[in-house]
């Protein structure tokens, strides 16, 4: 157990003292503890325990704010729900902010006031990071990304071998000796990124995207060192580490002189680079920074790839990754791509901006100590999938894929989980003349 001394407390409070932020100030003061957000959170719904009500997570942070940073809280803490940041409080914060929230933001949209609950949870995580209280499992994922360039610590040789193997697969499939998965090539239009789970566990998704690039006649490259789209620094609350990881990608795009950074199918990775990256680095990116979903939509609109959706006949449903849809605005774009590539798509209920998180967000897949909780809350997604009757679940996020695969197994759903690149690749009409 970590002991909260004065120095640690000061470091944590520094996060909240950043009072030149009107958004922070607003959300620290807005919750009225009506409790009406309870039913919007899958943790509360699955665990049936009041400690998981979103407002409770907000209150952990805001009660500290009131205690140390408001006059009324300093003078009369008991009257204003102001609480000490002590060992007990810090432990509760770890349990609920790291272990009881995926920062999916579902409750935010449904809050009666409009409190950005996940933003406050993130601030709470930053406070814990400042006190060295990040769960070791999550921290080791971040350390791996910083020390090796990817969060799974895959050695470069192993990665290069996998890519070469996938390139051979591509050549075979396309029956074209010129089909390529380029590595470390300069002056290409696109710099593409991967979730390290792809080379490690799902290499065929790399071939699927390579097939899309091949069909589009794209000029693209991967990096052999800095290809990792993920950024668990977004989740561990250590902004210096998040900045370092984002900078690795930024620098690599510059080194290779690419025009567009395309973020592979990863929800939080897309968020961390597309939306947070420029703020971490405190600069606007000189190059375009888009997701693979947007790129595929562009290809379809411009006629650069042709799809035959009758090649995807099975009943399919969509899992909306929170960081791409609710927190990334890609609701319509993603459906445009999927409906162009698949014939028989049915929505979950609820879906889109109201969709439930798969349960694997917020860095949960890296925190094995919360596995039991993670799979229990995944029951909500399992139920949603079951009700659609679909045989395939499509999602443009490898983190979600990982959680969905585990849910599939745990709840015996008997479905296939696919990324969008896989669905699009399956529907491609390849023009052999190109």
């Amino acid at each position: 157990m970590v002991t909260i001394d004065k120095e640690k407390r000061e470091k944590a409070l520094q996060i909240l003292k950043n009072s030149n932020d009107s958004k922070l100030l607003t959300h620290l003061n807005a919750c009225v503890r009506c409790g009406l957000c309870a039913g919007s959170c899958m943790y509360y719904l699955a665990m049936k325990d009041a400690k998981f009500i979103p407002a409770r997570k907000v209150d952990l942070v805001t009660s500290i704010y009131r205690r140390y940073l408001t006059t009324q809280g300093k003078l009369m803490p008991a009257l204003f729900n102001a609480k000490d940041l002590d060992d007990k409080m810090a432990d509760e914060m770890v349990d609920l902010l790291f272990g009881g929230c995926t920062m999916c933001g579902r409750c935010v949209k449904h809050c009666s006031i409009g409190v950005d609950i996940s933003y406050i949870v993130k601030k709470g995580r930053e406070m814990l990071a400042a006190m060295d209280m990040v769960p070791k499992t999550l921290q080791s994922t971040v350390d791996a990304a910083i020390n090796t360039g990817n969060n799974m610590g895959i050695p470069t040789e192993e990665f290069v071998d996998t890519i070469q193997w996938m390139e051979e697969e591509l050549v075979d499939e396309m029956q074209d000796a010129n089909a390529r998965i380029p590595l470390d090539e300069q002056n290409k239009h696109i710099f593409y990124t991967l979730n390290p789970r792809e080379p490690k566990f799902f290499p065929l998704s790399i071939t699927a995207m390579a097939k899309v690039f091949y069909a589009a006649g794209e000029s693209w490259t991967l990096s052999s060192k800095n290809y990792d789209v993920t950024n668990y620094g977004y989740f561990n609350g250590n902004n210096a580490e998040a900045t370092q990881i984002a900078r690795n990608l930024y620098d690599e795009v510059k080194n290779l002189h690419a025009d567009v950074l395309v973020l592979g199918e990863c929800g939080h990775g897309s968020r961390a680079n597309r939306w947070e990256g420029p703020n971490y680095l405190k600069k606007e990116y000189e190059f375009e920074n888009i997701t693979a979903v947007e790129l595929m939509a562009q290809y379809i609109r411009e006629g650069r790839i042709k799809l035959d959706k009758s090649l995807n006949k099975e009943l399919m449903t969509i899992h909306d990754p929170c960081n791409l849809i609710r927190n990334g605005g890609l609701l319509k774009e993603m459906r445009f791509v999927i409906n162009s590539a698949a014939e028989n798509v049915v929505e979950m209920n609820p879906y889109g901006n109201d969709n439930f998180c798969c349960g694997g967000g917020g860095g949960k897949l890296a925190m094995s100590e919360y596995n039991e909780r993670r799979l229990k809350i995944g029951g909500i997604k399992a139920e949603q999938i079951k009700k659609t009757g679909a045989k395939v679940v499509i999602t443009p996020c490898h983190n979600c894929v990982d959680q969905l695969v585990q849910i599939n197994h745990t709840y015996k759903l008997g479905v296939q989980i696919k990324t969008i690149a896989e669905i699009v690749a399956d529907a491609l009409i390849i023009d052999k003349k190109q």
Partner: protein, 208 residues
């Protein structure tokens, strides 16, 4: 003017100054400084945040809890009516105008329904274990003072001999308002604004 009227006026001024300075601070700090490339329409999303997104059909906090939602609406209606009436009563100290009986009756009805909503919301907080676990002194004090000031307003309309009670309750309410959770009278609007800004920047809102 009588001493309790002065106390209420001073409390009102303190409340206004604290809230105004909070508002000025928020305005001075301005919009979030976001260096990512904007994807949506921020003004449209802010507008949606205050309109479509507030519709009871858009929020689970409303459509899953309709009785509480309606109670809350009525309660807030009574609060704003009471605040408006307070200003009127202050002006009326020198005007000595009579309130029309029909208007007085309508106000009474609104205020008693509103106060009843406040009491029911308080009872829910006391008796619902989960809500109680979220609550602290601020939640009870804020509710009691707000409900009490509505009752005091209704009683004052009914009979001006309740004047001392009315002005003292109003003074207590104003002294609490900018410090307790009642300060959401300001932060509610700021939160809706920021939410609209956030979702608008990323193209999530206005929801299509």
């Amino acid at each position: 003017m009588i001493w309790y009227q002065w106390i209420a006026i001073i409390a009102f001024i303190i409340c206004a100054i604290v809230l105004a300075s909070d508002l000025v601070k928020l305005i001075k700090l301005g919009n979030p400084k976001d260096l990512s490339r904007k994807q949506g329409n921020v003004p449209a999303a802010i507008k949606y945040s205050f309109t479509g997104a507030m519709s009871p059909m858009a929020k689970e906090s409303a459509y899953q809890h309709l009785p509480t939602y309606i109670g809350g609406l009525l309660y807030h209606m009574g609060t704003f009516l009471s605040l408006g009436l307070f200003i009127w009563f202050l002006i009326n100290i020198s005007l000595h105008a009579e309130m029309h009986v029909a208007i007085a009756i309508i106000f009474q009805i609104i205020l008693w329904i509103s106060a009843l909503s406040g009491i029911l919301i308080l009872l829910k907080r006391i008796f619902k274990q989960e809500l109680r676990s979220l609550s602290g002194a601020d939640d009870y004090i804020s509710n009691i003072l707000t409900t009490l000031m509505q009752i005091a307003t209704a009683l004052f309309i009914l009979n001006t001999s309740n004047e001392a009670f009315y002005f003292i309750v109003m003074a207590l309410f104003f002294l609490w308002l900018p410090f307790g959770k009642t300060k959401h009278v300001l932060y509610f609007f700021a939160a809706r604004y920021h939410l609209g800004y956030f979702y608008g920047w990323r193209g999530t809102w206005p929801q299509k």
